[in-house]
């Protein structure tokens, strides 16, 4: 046991030094996914035919193929047509594009769950459709989507680990390095799993507080 603790004490700092990379990757990707997901949801709900079909096709393709394949395609495939990214950027793009497809569907469901009368009332008082969306529909839909969105965000936090496959030195990549140096894979992956667990538990807690703080009677379902 004390041997394990010594091992952990020795290598934890190196692992933890990857946390900023993991978090940066995650935050950039889900933020991109948030805004692009909103645009996709808008296209699916209000878009004319071309926008509707483009966004629907996009969502189906990105949800229907593995994220690792998407990432390898962006990092290794696109350079062949002249688009080259460093590993970190490629990972942000891959995870961001992928999560936007999932977030879009959650946003669409939440927006469509808001009763029509809300938008009607907004228009009746003289708001444009965009104002109605921004001031009335989205604030309600975003509150409703928090539980699903939290799941998605936490899933993506764990998915940042696949960026190690293209050489981003986030925490999983660092664990692998130590593993091959010391050949103590058992311990090092236990440690890295614990680090992920602390991260996801913290994020879950924060999002849970956000959900509680923004809750409004009559709007959020259940609970």
């Amino acid at each position: 046991m004390s041997d394990f603790l010594d091992f952990a004490a020795e290598h934890l700092p190196y692992i933890l030094a990857g946390v900023p990379t993991t978090l940066a990757l995650w935050i950039l990707a889900i933020t991109f996914g948030f805004f692009f997901g909103l645009v996709l949801a808008w296209c699916r709900i209000y878009g004319k035919k071309p926008a509707y079909w483009a966004s629907t096709g996009y969502i189906e393709i990105f949800r229907g193929t593995p994220m690792l394949v998407q990432m390898l395609f962006i990092y290794l495939g696109l350079p062949e047509v002249g688009l080259t990214f460093d590993p970190f950027t490629a990972a942000v793009i891959a995870i961001g594009l992928n999560t936007s497809a999932y977030q879009a569907e959650y946003f669409r469901g939440a927006i469509q769950s808001i009763p029509q009368g809300q938008m009607t009332a907004a228009r009746a008082m003289g708001m444009s459709d965009l104002q109605g969306l921004i001031f009335i529909v989205l604030p309600q839909a975003l509150r409703r989507v928090i539980p699903q969105w939290s799941n998605e965000a936490i899933l993506e936090l764990k998915f940042t680990s696949i960026a190690f496959a293209i050489g981003v030195t986030e925490i999983t990549a660092r664990a692998e390095t130590i593993g091959f140096k010391t050949f103590r894979f058992f311990e090092i992956f236990l440690i890295v799993a614990a680090v992920y667990f602390v991260l996801t538990a913290t994020v879950a807690q924060i999002l849970h507080i956000v959900e509680r703080r923004t809750a409004v009677p009559g709007l959020t379902l259940g609970r």
Binding site: G117, Q118, T120, A121, A122, R123, A124, M125, G126, M127, S128, Q131, F135, I136, P139, Q140, R143, V216, P217, G218, L219
Partner: protein
Amino acid sequence: MSALLEVEGIRKKYGQFEVLKGVSLQLERGQAKVVMGPSGTGKSTLLRCINYLTPPDAGTVRLDGEEVVPRNLNRIRQQVAFVFQDFNLFTHLRVIDNITIGPRRILGLSKTEARDRAMRELERVGLADKVRAYPAELSGGQQQRVSIARALAMEPKVILFDEPTSALDPELTGEVVNVMKRLASEGMTMLVVSHEIGFARSAADEIVFMDGGHILEQGPPAQLFDAPQHERTRRFLRMIGDQVGDAAAAGEGA
């Protein structure tokens, strides 16, 4: 001087079914008109055509001499408030914010100006103590009074009411009807779809009876209620009279 609101020759079809077959009416400044008629006659459709929530197929709407067209629609709607049967208060906003959001975001009032105005209107509907409540924490009658305050805070030229009490329990209609009576007596211009005989008799300048997409007859309450010209009108009044029992306990008929 021309009427404040002039509706002329409004037609509206859903598929093959013509709901409105050329409806015209005028509303003078300060006038309150009540529209009655059997279910499915096009009363709601008429109100929604007036502010183009449902664009009419033909006909014109003029407010203060200005014709409503797509270009000025949002500006006209600021002056034609709408009170819905099911209230449609903004669920995520407290009472105060439900009322200030229009003045702030649409009319561009400052925060304090909008707040003062909202408080004034809330007092007018007797709900000043509910400023911080959310819609879901209010009774139906209170929600409808807030939605009237929300309409008033836009300082509209006219308010359209679509069966404002028909979603309410009978014991709650009184509080809403009282607010509407007061508005009428203060000179608010109102077009009200309602089967509240009590309100219609005491507050309306004119009753409009609609049937089958037409206006069948209209006139002062005394004339329309006590000496209706058409058999259809008589039959309708008998029917809501039977359902209602007496005007004081009036729930919505039809």
